[in-house]
Symmetry: C2
Subunit: 130 residues, 2 copies
């Protein structure tokens, strides 16, 4: 059994970040679960364009407020606690957070822990990630 | 993109339950993510013995208070918001919740949606589940 605490992990190299967001990886590929699990915090008043070309991701809103726009369809969905979105088609999307927003995120295949978002908004494929 | 709201899903057949717990399945096998994602609520003052022989599971505490005992090692860990445990060895365990406790749970392989806990505390293997 693995037991980890977000409040401890956020002070270690499990926390990675880029412009106005950070992600604390509580489970990574090495843990052998077949997925990775991250607590991701998006700053209030920020907007992000993400496109995970090589991963499927589900994102559950624990706290905060915002919206997500599916680039392919143009549809915008409200984000509030209890809302989950799943990028089952590697959907390119824009995420806006009015308040600081915390998400519980699952990636398949699991993130190795060294990826950062590339300029095109994606993570590298698992087999080429550093 | 799939978008679902816990507060709506809990009033549908996505919510299943047994003695003093319930689980709202926001993602199931049919969604094709390679994992399932559940919001599970454990009643205050309840104790549960679980053993997922055929699934790996990660469990992240969103709210509440309790403890988990790993049967194999005898170790007990405190459960509070931000604590995650992962049953990477199909660990048999006892979960106690002092307060109503809400968890974000990930199962691999994904749950089909029809499983309930069997008398031995497990879910059936994916290929035999109803």
């Amino acid at each position: 059994m693995i037991v980890r605490d977000f409040h401890e992990a956020k002070n270690t190299d499990r926390k990675v970040g880029a412009q106005r967001w950070n992600s604390v990886r509580l489970l990574l590929k090495d843990d052998g679960m077949g997925f990775s699990f991250h607590i991701t915090t998006i700053e209030a008043g920020s907007e992000h364009r993400f496109h995970y070309k090589h991963h499927l991701e589900s994102v559950y809103c624990v706290s905060g407020k915002g919206s997500i726009t599916d680039i392919a369809t143009g549809e915008t969905h409200e984000i509030r606690p209890g809302v989950m979105y799943a990028l089952d088609k590697h959907d390119e999307h824009i995420l806006r957070c009015e308040e600081e927003t915390v998400f519980a995120c699952v990636f398949n295949p699991p993130v190795t822990g060294d990826e950062v978002h590339r300029e095109d908004g994606s993570y590298a494929p698992a087999d080429t990630a550093a």
